[in-house]
């Protein structure tokens, strides 16, 4: 296997190099670079508006403690079963409140079970432009935000960035890209339109995505 690998690799690279001796024609760039996306000005208002469009439940709270209490109400409304929670010092603080009624599985205990009913995680960034949540493997792992039918995100307004460009710049700058083997930009909950273009929610991933966004 190793033999073939290096032989094919060399052949392909040699062909590419030979092919590129002649440059391809191109559509010349405009002399003045044009704005592609209108700049995002009111980030919070834009985030809420985009969430409404992409079917994310965005709930703004005064502080994280209030978010934690509101999560309790959501947990009360979903069927019995485990709640998978990203193991972080901050979420551990709130867990006492949640664990009264639900059994909690921490991400440090292993990946989420298929039977888990909800997942609670933090995030790396919120993107106003598209109403998206950016998570990494550090947010409870790869399966955290996809296995359970409900995904709850606890975030603060500090994590909100205006657009995708800023979000990607931020995770690069903070070393999140190199430290994690996985990142996911989540926009709304899982859906499909493969049957007659009719929109159905909850194809393989969560049916509900709920973001608790605290102002402090």
């Amino acid at each position: 296997m190793a033999q073939t690998e290096s032989a094919s690799r060399d052949k392909i690279l040699a062909r590419i190099r030979a092919a590129l001796r002649e440059p391809a024609p191109r559509h010349e760039p405009a002399s003045q670079p044009k704005t592609i996306f209108a700049p995002v000005t009111e980030a919070l208002a834009r985030f809420q508006k985009e969430c409404a469009t992409n079917i994310t439940e965005c709930i703004v709270t005064p502080n994280r403690r209030a978010s934690a209490s509101a999560v309790k109400d959501v947990l009360a409304s979903i069927p019995p079963g485990d709640v998978f929670v990203q193991d972080s010092p901050e979420l551990r603080q709130f867990a006492e409140e949640w664990s009264k009624d639900r059994s909690i599985q921490w991400s440090s205990e292993g990946p989420p079970r298929e039977s888990s009913q909800a997942t609670i995680t933090a995030c790396e960034a919120l993107v106003a432009q598209t109403g998206s949540v950016l998570v990494s493997a550090a947010c409870g792992g790869r399966g955290a935000s996809v296995v359970a039918p409900v995904h709850i995100v606890i975030a603060t307004v500090d994590e909100l960035v205006p657009d995708l460009d800023a979000a990607l710049a931020s995770v690069l700058e903070r070393g999140i890209v190199s430290v994690n083997s996985y990142l996911c930009l989540i926009t709304g909950s899982s859906r499909t339109a493969d049957i007659e273009k009719i929109l159905v929610m909850g194809a393989h991933g969560p049916r509900r995505l709920i973001v608790f966004l605290s102002l402090a």
């Binding site: 670079p33 592609i36 440090s108 657009d163 690069l172 430290v179 083997s181 996911c184 930009l185 493969d194």
Partner: protein, 470 residues
């Protein structure tokens, strides 16, 4: 005429006469186009977005060796493996050998056009490995043992009644045509597959050179499960999929979503690079990327048509194409359908066998207008026609016809003479009812179209009379 060409014509005639099929196709495609039209309005300047995408892809393709090597190095740094495959056999061989050596019995696959291109499914089945498609549309066409109908919407030719009947027969635990229930049934069946498969296979929408990660775009979340749950993840991608920088995705993600489905952005845009890290909760133990050439480096050598490799497989040109809208996806008999398929297939699978696809176009240019990376699609179809005339087998009547045309166009007298013969021939053919028969050189056209009566006098004569030259 090649077998592929005869089959194409037969299926095209059949499908274009099937009004029910055309109605389904029209409804779905119109729906896509309406969403895309409104999606484009969310950009301050869609044309500037297309131009920038073109520039980024141009930069990537014209420095392909450099960016592929950078990608390879970064994937290795992350603990992944990179295999370079010259052709389908090598790519399938690598993946089946890997699966056998790791004791894999079941594979879950998320939608990959490259996997279709190399016929990975049959290769896995041949060595006794169960292969399950997890994208809902792909899952449906796999159950029907069919090829995908569209790059983005594989099952778009089916109604919910068709799918309900299929699920009732194959899955058993369901008897309804409610889309919500049908999706739930597929979800149940596929959840079992995700949690019992040892290997997940995905494509890649982009290979990000500076991050050493692959980018995957899905709405359903199936690619996320494929790349998270099984213990081995294999990603397979054409060498042209590389982009220089992670931040290029800030443009490509919204552009791909808009051109593909009209969404502002797709639900899940995932980046994975390498296996699970020691401190991470989950993820595969092994991560492999198969880089496939399969004729792409030869297309790269053609500077005139190098931009065909810019394609991000959004499917917009299929939806815009009047031919695709009439004959549908299966008529093409190729992995990639519509305008991009008609341009690409002769390069990947031989000009002589697939030259007819260059003629399956009205050259209206709708594909070129809609392409988010500005591929000059309809001119490439014209170039393929030029090459076909130079090097491939063309019909005898066409060659003679153009010889006569060339001779006639060289002087006024010859032109007048040829016109007189043509009018006479039309009158004779009409009186003997030869139109549309094997003896009629215009047969393929006049078979389905009523010819006008031959004019008594030529245009030149009428013009001369009207302008008083007589």
């Amino acid at each position: 005429m090649s077998t592929a060409s005869r089959e194409f014509l037969r299926r095209a005639a059949e499908k274009s006469a099937d009004l029910n099929h055309r109605e389904i196709l029209r409804r779905v495609v119109d729906n896509c186009n309406t969403s895309m039209d409104s999606g484009r309005l969310r950009f301050a300047n869609w044309e500037a977005a297309r131009q920038r995408c073109h520039e980024i892809k141009w930069e990537a393709l014209n420095n392909l060796d450099r960016y592929l090597l950078e990608f390879e190095q970064r994937v290795k740094d992350r603990g992944g493996y990179v295999f370079w495959a010259e052709n389908s056999a090598e790519a399938c061989g690598y993946i089946t050998d890997l699966a056998i050596s790791r004791g894999v019995h079941k594979v879950v696959k998320s939608k990959s056009m490259v996997a279709e291109e190399i016929h990975l499914g049959p290769a896995l089945e041949k060595v006794g490995i169960e292969d399950i498609e997890t994208d809902l549309g792909e899952f449906i066409v796999q159950l029907r043992k069919e090829a995908p109908y569209h790059i983005v919407s594989p099952a778009m030719h089916l109604t919910r009644k068709d799918i309900a009947a299929l699920f009732k027969e194959k899955l058993g635990d369901i008897d309804t045509d409610d889309p919500q229930e049908l999706v739930a049934a597929a979800r149940r069946a596929l959840r079992r597959a995700f949690f019992s498969a040892e290997m997940g296979i995905s494509g890649a929408n982009f290979l990000v050179a500076d991050a050493g990660m692959i980018a995957l775009t899905t709405n359903e979340g199936n690619a996320r499960l494929c790349t998270s749950v099984p213990r081995i993840h294999v990603a397979i991608a054409g060498i042209e999929k590389v982009i220089p920088r992670l931040q290029d995705l800030a443009l490509f993600w919204p552009v791909l979503a808009t051109a593909g489905t009209g969404q502002p952005i797709t639900c899940y845009n995932t980046l994975t690079g390498g296996p699970r890290k020691p401190n991470e909760v989950d993820g595969p133990e092994e991560f492999h990327v198969v880089l496939l050439d399969n004729g792409r480096s030869e297309l790269l050598a053609d500077a005139e048509r190098r931009d065909v490799l810019h394609c991000i497989r959004c499917g917009a040109c299929l939806n815009a194409c009047p031919v695709y809208r009439t004959v549908g996806g299966h008529t093409y008999g190729t992995t990639y359908q519509g305008p991009i398929g008609s341009v690409l297939t002769p390069h990947l699978r031989g000009l002589n066998e697939f030259q007819h696809l260059s003629y399956a176009s009205s050259l209206c240019g709708a594909c070129t207008d809609v392409c988010p990376v500005k591929i000059d699609l309809h001119h490439h179809l014209l170039e393929n026609r030029r090459d076909a005339v130079r090097s491939a087998d063309r019909p005898f009547t066409e060659r003679i016809g153009f010889k006569i045309w060339r001779w006639a166009m060289q002087s006024e007298g010859r032109f007048a003479l040829a016109g007189w013969f043509a009018r006479a021939a039309m009158r004779i053919a009409h009186s003997m009812k030869l139109e549309g028969t094997a003896l009629d050189p215009l047969g393929p056209w006049s078979k389905n179209h009523a010819s006008p009566a031959a004019p008594k006098r030529s245009f030149r004569a009428l013009w001369g009379k009207a302008n008083g030259a007589d």
